[in-house]
Symmetry: C2
Subunit: 179 residues, 2 copies
């Protein structure tokens, strides 16, 4: 440690926690990805489709989407292109703002996510939720919510169908965890 010592170093304990988080989160991500790879999709793609499936009309502006799933606009453009090639999603230009583009979930996209959701949710349960006691999981959730708010104050899920009319069915959002 020499004289580099400074109040900013982590204590041994903090370090242990931090590493647990770092490694654990990687393992978790791997796990969730492999649950999806039978479908030829990655978690990040799943997240995108899933957000779309929850939005009213299954449509969302590119930038809202990017924001919601914490990906760069560029990345969303590329990802959307891939999904479009599979016919799961369609681009529509935005009436109110001619710069804008809306991404729309196609019927076959909706079908696809309904097929995948099962496996995805199971992996989230198996790898995370059921590995913890409800209290532990809640604590994890709260802590991460705080981190999220800290790093991106006021970050909201885009107004979603899940609010009131989730059970009214109209737009079938993939209800679960989706992403």
């Amino acid at each position: 440690m020499t004289e580099l010592e400074s109040p900013t170093w982590l204590t041994a304990q903090e370090q242990t926690f931090w590493r647990a988080y770092l490694r654990g989160s990687r393992l978790l991500e791997n796990e969730l990805n492999s649950a999806l790879d039978g479908f030829g999709v990655q978690l990040t793609e799943y997240e995108l489709i899933s957000m779309l499936s929850e939005a009213p009309g299954g449509r969302l502006r590119m930038s809202l989407l990017a924001d919601a799933i914490v990906q760069s606009r560029s990345r969303v453009t590329h990802t959307a292109a891939r999904l479009e090639a599979r016919g799961w999603v369609r681009r529509e230009s935005c009436l109110e703002d001619k710069r804008g583009v809306e991404l729309v979930l196609t019927e076959s996209g909706r079908q696809a996510i309904e097929d995948m959701a099962w496996a995805h949710v199971k992996s989230v349960r198996d790898a995370l939720v059921d590995a913890l006691t409800p209290e532990e999981f809640a604590a994890l959730g709260h802590a991460m919510e705080k981190v999220r708010e800290h790093l991106h104050p006021g970050h909201q899920e885009p107004a979603s169908a899940q609010q009131a009319d989730c059970d009214a069915d109209g737009d079938r959002a993939v209800p679960d965890c989706a992403s």
Copy 2:
């Protein structure tokens, strides 16, 4: 929700927690990465060097390293090649096992990490540790430790210099959180 209902779906509450984790962890990763990008390094590269810096003699077998930082062997090979090109690391073939390769931190690599550590630790503190109460952070750490153990039972940090002789200095491990 229709009839897809099944015991495996997440409850609304679970879903909220899960999303907080998912988005929060992405924001966090972005944050930590941007703290490093003045040095032209990514978090994953930092993790590698940091593990090395803690290992006795600053050397570690490729596969141990890969395991420790939860990256594929292939990825570690590539990353190591990049770091080698910068002169931070050197490959040495292993005496006891002729298939093996040890990665050794060079003096300039050690210098580099000492330079970066400060900024890195600060980002971990600012973005995560200090954003939570000690209790919240501990709870997060415990939960993630459990997840890690669940997904990779018996996973250990490679026997590291940090054990007893950390303060003895001999090998200067970057003490902090490193990664």
